[in-house]
């Protein structure tokens, strides 16, 4: 590149320093600086999210008279202030687990439907529609859940209580509209279906055709092809897709805030109204909170942040490992 510079430059052509890609020109330096700077800025933002939340959280927790992890109450405005995340952690985990149990099998089914069962002409538009559904804002799911799904689920709740009440979990001890963790779980399941489906579908489409054709050539039925070649290949993809969905479900705010009727109790009767989640508690409690109350909410938000960070990080690590594996295979 130095050879194209005009002749009036000093006789010794500037030897390219550093990496071969850089020419040492000012424009390049600025451009590299800008682009690397924005990359570093993102890292700084991530780090400062952790730092700022931790700082405010420590302010709140240090004045907490209860145990932050085990107290079953949220009263930072009281004297002395007492609050703990036990109920929130329980509600968040239970509603997300219900969502996962419902959504993951159905999503795998839909992904298989699109990748292996649907008529070819239907497959592409279906994938497209699923992606569109992922774009529906959560608040719309929220009001649909509260105004349409909740009344609709009353019958199902009675039925579950009638036939599965003996399991304790499905026992309904309070009469009333089902603004419960179970309903929240169902709504979350509907909400995370699109993302779990679209990630799994992508993995299923990557299965080497050779593997499937080999199975077919041995006389396998379509289900045997899926069981023997598609699912083993896609296992890690399915796991990470589910964890991405779990991350969404853990942090979902509006759908829970509209559907759940919150209360600070821990109850395994998932059909009874009550309970709470981190995000719901923050959205619902923020309005009345003073500055200390907001710090307390930030402290609970920090726990949620760490939780989603762990889940998403694990999901990404699994995907990254898989990439190398399939790369060697291709």
């Amino acid at each position: 590149m130095a050879s194209t510079t005009p002749l009036d430059l000093p006789p010794a052509p500037p030897a390219p320093r550093g990496r071969p890609g850089s020419t040492g020109r000012a424009g390049d330096k600025i451009f590299i600086g800008l682009s690397r700077g924005s990359g570093i800025l993102l890292l700084v933002v991530m780090a400062s999210i952790a730092v700022f939340l931790s700082y405010r959280a420590v302010l709140a927790i240090s004045k907490d008279e209860g145990n932050f992890l085990t107290t079953l109450d949220w009263n930072p405005a009281g004297d002395p202030p007492v609050f703990g995340i036990a109920v929130l952690l329980f509600g968040t985990v239970v509603s997300s687990v219900i969502a996962m149990v419902i959504a993951v099998p159905v999503a795998i089914g839909i992904a298989l439907f699109i990748s292996h069962y649907a008529p070819r002409k239907l497959a592409a538009p279906l994938g497209y529609v699923i992606d569109l559904l992922a774009a529906v804002p959560s608040i719309v799911y929220g009001i649909w859940g509260a105004l349409v799904l909740v009344p609709y689920l009353e019958g199902l709740n009675l039925w579950l209580d009638q036939f599965f009440g003996w399991t304790y979990v499905f026992e309904k001890t309070e009469v009333g509209i089902p603004r419960s963790l179970f309903t929240v779980g169902i709504l979350l399941a509907i909400m995370i279906l699109p993302i779990v489906t679209s990630v799994s579908r992508e993995v299923f489409l990557q299965v080497p055709k050779m593997n499937e054709e080999a199975a077919l050539a041995l006389g396998a039925t379509r289900w045997e092809v899926i069981r023997l070649s598609v699912l083993p290949f896609g296992r890690s993809g399915i796991i990470s897709a589910s964890m991405l969905g779990l991350g969404r479900a853990l942090g979902e705010t509006m759908a829970v805030a509209t559907v759940l009727s919150p209360s600070f109790i821990i109850s395994l009767h998932v059909l009874d109204p009550g309970g709470g989640t981190f995000a719901q508690n923050i959205a619902a409690g923020f309005g009345e909170a003073d500055e200390f109350g907001r710090d307390a909410l930030i402290a609970s938000g920090l726990v949620l942040f760490v939780l989603t960070l762990l889940v998403n990080g694990a999901a990404r690590l699994i995907i990254a490992r898989r990439k190398e594996y399939s790369g060697a295979n291709a």
Partner: protein, 362 residues
């Protein structure tokens, strides 16, 4: 299905001399219309039993019918064909049932929003604010929220698009080593940050610097949510640009930064635009940061840098919480506006992607 057809054709011969079921091509098989028949029978049974037992919810009828369908087709196939075929048919049915079960709520969501939203949506609704309107009155509109959404999303886009673009350029064109790996990993993790956590982050800054709520603060939280999406999609698009183009440009002695600006980015511009539009569609529906940082207002505030504002998703939540029939109508109408906004962005983005695709692909 194709399996069933081939066996159908060969089915004529062995009918006269019944053979043991061995699973070979000459074994007996169900006719092609069998699944439809099972479906009809189980649907009838499900409705019948549901109505007879007096179950309240149609969902139960549907669930029962679905279970009956699985049982009937498994039993029938085992009896007529063999266990392997029965399992195959069971899997096919389960996959179909999964698909249909997922379509029902999603269709209901869209249908409810469109039908209930259309009742209230008109020119008046779009051009009036909620100033002086009480919850139970059936006037008022969404104008102030529209302005809020457009401004907040606009500011977020103005910050996120260049930031995301530059980061993606760094990752694809320059990035090697541990810094690039760290950025890639944390961008991925950032896509999963709950919107409420992004809101809390900005809130903690506001508490420390004593900043009052404003549209700008909401936009900053939206930026945190938007940047990783832009980075990911731009990265994918830049990777699609053929290396020959870069090499040709560099061979002509053009510096790398001009190569990127004049060759790489223009080649991928369609895909990049698509990614940015999808990211806009994603953040336009975020409610949680707005609750924490913009605070909501009934009045028109065109200045995003000071004072409380509203936004479409916040407006929906606010009207839902009022709990009156008139406010539910407003919430649905606003939901329809929001969904239309998001869907139009999505469709336009995918349209651009398709229209520009051949040029980047080759």
């Amino acid at each position: 299905m194709s399996h069933a057809t081939t066996t159908d054709v060969q089915d004529d011969r062995p009918r006269t001399t019944p053979e043991p079921r061995t699973g070979g091509l000459s074994s007996r098989s169900l006719p092609r219309w069998a699944p439809l028949g099972f479906a009809a029978v189980s649907l009838a049974l499900g409705v019948g039993i549901g109505a007879a037992a007096g179950w309240h919810s149609r969902t139960q009828w549907g669930l029962l019918a679905a279970l009956l369908f699985l049982a009937i087709s498994y039993a029938a196939t085992t009896a007529v064909e063999n266990q392997r075929q029965a399992k195959d048919r069971l899997a096919t049915s389960v996959v179909w049932v999964c698909f249909l079960a997922a379509v029902v709520p999603l269709a209901s969501l869209l249908w409810t929003t469109v039908s209930r939203g259309a009742e209230r949506l008109d020119g008046y609704f779009l051009t009036h604010s909620m100033a002086g309107v009480l919850g139970f009155e059936d006037t008022g509109g969404v104008y102030h929220a529209l302005i809020g959404t457009l401004e907040q999303v606009g500011i977020a886009t103005v910050i996120s698009a260049p930031l995301g673009l530059l980061t993606a350029v760094y990752l694809v064109e320059y990035g090697k080593g541990s810094l690039a790996k760290a950025v890639t990993f944390f961008v991925d993790v950032m896509t999963g940050i709950p919107s409420i956590v992004a809101g809390l982050f900005i809130l903690s800054i506001m508490l420390m610097a004593k900043i009052e709520p404003s549209g700008l603060m909401g936009a900053l939280a939206l930026t945190i949510l938007m940047v990783p999406v832009v980075v990911r999609s731009t990265e994918e698009m830049l990777k699609l640009v053929p290396n020959e183009l870069r090499e040709a440009s560099l061979a002509l002695g053009i510096p790398k930064w001009r190569t990127i600006l004049k060759v790489v980015l223009p080649t991928a511009i369609g895909g990049i635009t698509t990614g940015v539009m999808l990211a806009i569609a994603r953040i336009a529906g975020e409610t949680a940061p707005i609750i924490l940082l913009v605070f909501g207002s009934q009045l028109i505030n065109t200045n995003p840098f000071s004072g409380a504002q509203s936004s479409l998703p916040f407006y929906i939540y606010e009207q839902y919480k009022v709990g009156e029939a008139a406010s539910y109508d407003r919430a649905w109408a606003a939901a329809l506006v929001l969904i239309a906004f998001v869907m139009i962005l999505n469709l336009a983005a995918r349209g651009i992607a398709r229209w520009k695709a051949p040029r980047t692909g080759r």
